[in-house]
């Protein structure tokens, strides 16, 4: 949707952007770190988008909202990092309620194990272990439903880069889940 055709009016702003609230919510849930409230992040995203609505140059509206959401999350995280920091806790995999495997499983087994035992909490933990660029791309494409082109627009990088990050991230996510023995047949 080309928002340049939309008058700079807060009702029209809401009509143009609220349909993408669910996508922004997915992005905010995974961009929120260090105690950030995803709902606050969504609200701040919309307030900043509203402030910049008049000067928005067009393109995909939901890609534009995702870019704002990610920027808000990063700037808030930087602000928090300047405050006194708490001693970090154990690495996520060390506190997971399931044991880690020794590795060495075949690639075909990885896929079988992962698909057999999907669990939201465990997937979320493993997603958090991915490098940020891969995590963000997977969040946009697989969780929030953006196309690779929209994700590329939101991130300001080529579409091929998004596709490569998504692929590496998915494979790494599958391997992490398999290593953690996310399966019904867990010993």
């Amino acid at each position: 949707m080309d928002v340049r055709a939309v008058d700079d009016d807060h009702r029209e702003f809401l009509d143009a952007t609220l349909p993408y609230l669910d996508a922004v919510w997915q992005v905010a849930r995974h961009a929120a770190v260090d105690g950030q409230d995803p709902e606050d992040l969504v609200q701040e995203t919309y307030l900043r988008a509203f402030a910049g609505f008049g000067s928005y140059r067009g393109g995909s509206t939901r890609a534009w909202l995702a870019a704002i959401c990610l920027n808000v999350a990063r700037s808030q995280a930087r602000r928090r990092q300047r405050r006194p920091r708490e001693v970090p806790g154990p690495a996520p995999l060390d506190v997971l309620p399931w044991s880690r495997a020794d590795g060495g499983e075949g690639a075909a087994d990885v896929a079988d194990v992962v698909i057999a035992g999907l669990d939201v909490e465990k997937v979320s933990w493993c997603l958090a272990l991915l490098p940020e660029p891969q995590r963000v791309c997977i969040t946009l494409v697989d969780v929030a439903g953006y196309t690779a082109r929209e994700a590329a627009e939101a991130l300001g990088c080529p579409r091929g880069t998004v596709l490569a990050r998504v692929h590496r991230g998915r494979r790494r996510l599958a391997q992490l889940l398999a290593e953690a023995r996310v399966s019904h047949g867990e010993p």
């Binding site: 700079d8 609220l18 997915q26 402030a51 896929a111 493993c126 596709l163």
Partner: protein, 252 residues
């Protein structure tokens, strides 16, 4: 030329054109490495998709309200868009909002009524107030005045009851958590902020309370008490009732 990993991701995302997809299918039949990569990619994709979660009920209303407050509260967005005058000229300011709020519960209805009030002439009575105070006052204007035969005086040792769910808004650069509390026949908005609410022009001090002030905004009384946080109570009742309510509220 796209790399194999880009082709795998594009294939599984359904983004290959028919010619690319046909060539890719042919390649997969011959290449064990790519076949395994596809299996892992598919597994990772299915895993990530279980993380989809619908937005919480009420988030759309909260966002809409925050934008409405920003539009009416003198933020940069409002300066770009003289909204109240244009919306009044339309003469149907609440037409679309109730549709968005359908089924969202009592609080959502309260927000809808509030937003209507913002756009009605009475809403202009808060125009000269600091944006944060004006936002709270406008929110309180949606509360109906207590009936004459219901007795609005909070009696006995009854505890206040919270009505609906809290709403967080930003007005005048200040983050405010709004709640509605009921005590006896009195309902009032209780707004809490980490920053002191700016004092409006018509403010009066409260005897014996150095950090408190009261004021009027149209039909709404305001009572502000400053401590670790700043609490601003607003409701269509005499200021004394707000003081009584404030004394019985649990700590913010």
């Amino acid at each position: 030329m796209e790399s194999h990993e880009q082709l795998v991701a594009a294939f599984l995302s359904g983004e290959l054109d028919p010619a690319q997809a046909r060539r890719w299918d042919e390649h997969l039949l011959e290449c064990e490495t790519c076949w395994r990569a596809v299996q892992e990619d598919r597994a990772g994709r299915q895993a990530a998709q279980v993380l989809r979660q619908p937005a919480p009920p009420g988030l759309a209303d909260r966002v809409a309200f925050a934008v409405e407050v920003a539009a009416a509260g003198g933020t940069p967005a409002q300066r770009q868009s003289p909204l109240p005058a244009r919306l009044r000229r339309r003469g149907r300011p609440g037409r679309r909002l109730p549709r968005r709020l359908a089924g969202a519960g009592m609080l959502a209805v309260g927000v809808a009524v509030t937003l209507l009030v913002v756009l009605l002439p009475r809403g202009r009575e808060t125009g000269s107030m600091p944006p944060a105070v004006a936002a709270v006052a406008r929110y309180a204007q949606a509360i109906p005045s207590p009936g004459g035969n219901q007795g609005s005086h909070p009696a006995g040792r009854a505890a206040p009851v919270e009505v609906g769910r809290p709403v967080t808004v930003t007005a005048g650069g200040q983050t405010i958590v709004l709640r509605i509390w009921r005590l006896g026949g009195t309902e009032a908005v209780v707004a809490v902020s980490d920053r002191p609410f700016p004092m409006p022009a018509n403010v009066r001090g409260v005897p014996g309370m150095a950090m408190a002030w009261t004021a009027r905004a149209g039909t709404v009384s305001l009572y502000c008490l400053n401590g670790t946080t700043s609490e601003l109570l607003a409701g269509p009742v005499p200021g004394a009732e707000l003081e009584a309510l404030a004394a019985r509220l649990p700590p913010a």
